[in-house]
């Protein structure tokens, strides 16, 4: 009987407007994430005038050459400097306003002033700040008698190579790490949202059945556990279909970007095409197990209320637990093998999110991974048993919501 129920719960929702709309929005988000950097680059190049035109009044007479050198070393990059002899400040001031220049720089180390018609342009202010800093470094180096070579050594940066040791040793570049962190975060967020969204769908679906008397017809014909399993599987399939569409959109977008359409890939772009198959598999494993675990609890929650409006009150607690799991997973990102991460990745309530986060970023010991999956499986069985009983009793109790004590009593009976 379960397939017939799965089919009903699936088809009656897959055609609903909210489902179609959220699926489309998700696709737009992924496509947008893929193209947004290129689009933004295009727009800022087209509209933002990022050349820097400065008039410099140097009272010391030493700073301006250093500043010019610094600007030249950066390849010019749209920086135009014009030195103005002291005494002509008011004329320069007027030129900045009349000719639409970036600003007037007044220099007498250690005092620097930047007069600009648009002081709110933070990006430009910080560019000027950087430029002035570089000039100052050069000036100071010259005064200390450092050669160009010595200067380069002074500011040489260390090239830190991070290497994973143990079972899965490989060199990770920082770029790769950031990219996979962003991806992992996105996927974690998808698990989190889906547990909430589809879990609530299970709860309100059960409550809806209960508030209409279809439950009587169904329960006379089908075992409560079959009914519950059918609903959870149907709604779970709904979630998986949505994921499949989204992942497809993400991979498609990634492929299009890598093919070089719409300009070259940018270094801060999210590498949508680079989802590892293993990670995708873990994603499915933890989503499916986590969803079944939570869905059975949500189903029991839906079964103890008698009106759809009451669902929220009951599921709030479950929702909060999911939020805690998400926060724990989020914190585990910074330290995937820390104590908090290890503990919460074993607890079935939080493990679907935390263990996934750990697998995405760190390399948790295989023992912990296996234990996490096993505990979650066990929790699934226990949850199904518990919820099946609550469900069986709850679905036919109308009127007053049963108290915890009554539920326990009925479960024994």
């Amino acid at each position: 009987m379960v397939p017939v129920i799965v089919k009903r719960d699936f088809t009656s929702r897959v055609r609903s407007t909210p489902y179609i709309v959220t699926t489309i929005i998700g696709v737009l988000v992924f496509v947008g994430l893929g193209f947004a950097p290129a689009v933004m680059q295009y727009f800022s190049a087209a509209f933002g005038d990022d050349s820097l035109k400065l008039l410099v009044v140097d009272y010391s007479g030493e700073f301006a050459p250093a500043l010019l050198e610094a600007a030249a070393e950066n390849g010019g990059q749209g920086v135009q400097l014009e030195t103005i002899p002291p005494g002509q400040e008011s004329a320069a001031y007027q030129r900045v306003l009349d000719e639409g220049l970036s600003g007037l720089l007044l220099v007498e180390p250690p005092e620097f002033a930047f007069l600009t018609p648009d002081a709110a342009d933070m990006a430009r202010n910080s560019r000027v700040q950087r430029l002035v800093n570089q000039g100052l470094v050069r000036l100071n180096a010259r005064q200390l008698g450092l050669s160009q070579d010595e200067l380069a050594r002074l500011f040489a940066s260390a090239d830190l190579k991070v290497r994973q040791i143990g079972a899965d040793s490989s060199e990770v570049s920082e770029e790769d790490f950031t990219a996979s962190a962003v991806l992992a975060y996105l996927m974690l967020f998808m698990i989190y949202m889906s547990l909430l969204l589809y879990g609530n769908m299970v709860a309100s679906g059960v409550a809806e059945e209960k508030s209409s008397r279809i439950m009587e017809v169904m329960i006379a014909k089908v075992k409560p556990t079959e009914l519950m399993a059918g609903k959870i599987l149907g709604i779970g399939a709904l979630a998986l279909l949505q994921f499949a569409i989204w992942v497809g959109a993400a991979l498609g977008t990634g492929a299009v970007r890598r093919a070089g359409w719409f300009g070259p890939a940018l270094d801060w772009e999210i590498p949508l095409g680079r989802i590892e198959p293993a990670l995708l598999a873990w994603f499915v494993v933890f989503f499916v197990l986590g969803f079944f675990f939570y869905a059975s609890i949500f189903a029991a929650g839906g079964a103890v209320v008698s009106r759809v409006e009451e669902v929220n009150q009951v599921v709030t607690v479950v929702t909060m637990v999911i939020v805690v799991g998400f926060l724990a997973a989020f914190m585990s990102f910074t330290n995937p093998n820390g104590r908090l991460a290890v503990i919460t990745s074993l607890l079935p309530f939080t493990s679907p999110m935390v263990m996934f986060a750990r697998l995405a970023l760190g390399n948790p010991p295989a023992v912990q991974t296996a234990l996490s999956v096993l505990l979650l499986l066990a929790a699934n069985i226990a949850g199904a048993w518990f919820s099946g009983r609550v469900y069986r009793i709850g679905v036919l109790l109308y009127g007053k919501r049963p108290t915890m004590r009554e539920i326990v009593r009925y479960m024994r009976g």
Partner: protein, 298 residues
């Protein structure tokens, strides 16, 4: 043998909904299941169907526990709103047939036939929530019998139906019965019960009041109903002890004779009071039996 309900009892918290209730329904019969609101009819039906477990007693069919007969053996129509509001009418019927084990192709075929029979063709692609109450009721009725069950248990099947559809449903039920199916239905409308049922069970406050063949019940009650029309002193009956006025209609009086009061006494008194136009001794209607047996406490 048919259905046998044996000493079932159900308590909800401190309320006893059904108490030590027993009755039998012969195979191939139509049983009217009667009782005032809150008598325990729905609870009894739920216990028969195994939706709720009785605290005591058991229900058997042909001597075997009822639930051993499987889900497709009975059809059930709950009181109201027993449908998924968001589902399409035709898909809903197919779904209900499939739940009862009808293969997909047959299910679609039967759904189409019933939709046609009940004149629902123009609504078959509409969602249940868009249908009128009467049409929803029709869908529920079809849902209860689409898998051709041996036993039909219908809770208030006529509620919400207009006279035309009521007549049609009666025909359908008689037809189902003719095909050998056993039917139990509850109703508040005694005229419908009288028209359809050979047997009745009347319960009140969760206990059996009356059970058996309707005709025999009526004749056992005796011809105690007296209808008298006369031109003359309309107060004549007040002088006769043991004569209870049931109703004063524009054109006649209806009385109940207490035990030991002879109709002759009444006739004599009436003749003295004026010109007797009508004097009729009748069996009580089911309505009257109902009111008499449960009326005082209801």
């Amino acid at each position: 043998m048919g259905l046998s309900v044996q000493n079932i009892t159900k308590r909800f918290r401190d309320v006893t909904a059904v108490k030590d209730l027993s009755f039998e329904v012969d195979r191939g019969r139509i049983l009217g299941f009667l009782g005032p609101n809150g008598a325990g009819k729905t609870t009894t039906m739920r216990m028969i169907l195994g939706i709720i477990k009785p605290d005591a007693g058991e229900v058997t069919w042909e001597g075997m526990p009822f639930l051993h007969w499987g889900r497709s053996f009975f059809g059930y129509l709950p009181e109201e709103r027993g449908l998924y509001p968001k589902m399409r009418l035709d898909e809903h019927l197919v779904f209900l047939a499939r739940i009862n084990g009808v293969p997909a192709r047959d299910a679609r075929q039967r759904a189409a036939q019933w939709i046609d029979r009940f004149g629902l063709g123009q609504y078959s692609h509409k969602r249940i929530e868009e249908l009128s109450k009467g049409n929803q009721q029709k869908v529920q009725v079809i849902g209860a019998l689409i898998h051709e069950p041996e036993l039909l248990i219908l809770d208030e099947p006529f509620s919400g139906l207009d006279p035309v559809n009521t007549a049609m449903l009666k025909d359908v039920l008689l037809e189902q019965n003719k095909a050998g199916r056993t039917i139990i239905f509850s109703s508040h409308r005694m005229d419908q019960v009288e028209e359809l049922c050979e047997d009745i069970v009347l319960i009140h406050k969760g206990q059996l009041v009356l059970a058996g063949n309707l005709r025999r019940i009526k004749s056992a009650m005796g011809r105690q109903i007296l209808r008298v029309a006369l031109e003359g002193d309309r107060d004549f009956w007040r002088r006769i002890p043991g004569l209870i006025l049931l109703g004063e209609r524009p054109d006649y009086f209806e009385f109940r004779l207490s035990a030991g009061v002879s109709p002759n006494v009444v006739l004599e008194a009436a003749m003295e009071a004026g010109q007797v136009i009508r004097f009729e001794l009748a069996e009580p209607s089911l309505d009257q039996i109902f009111i008499e047996r449960v009326g005082a406490g209801a």
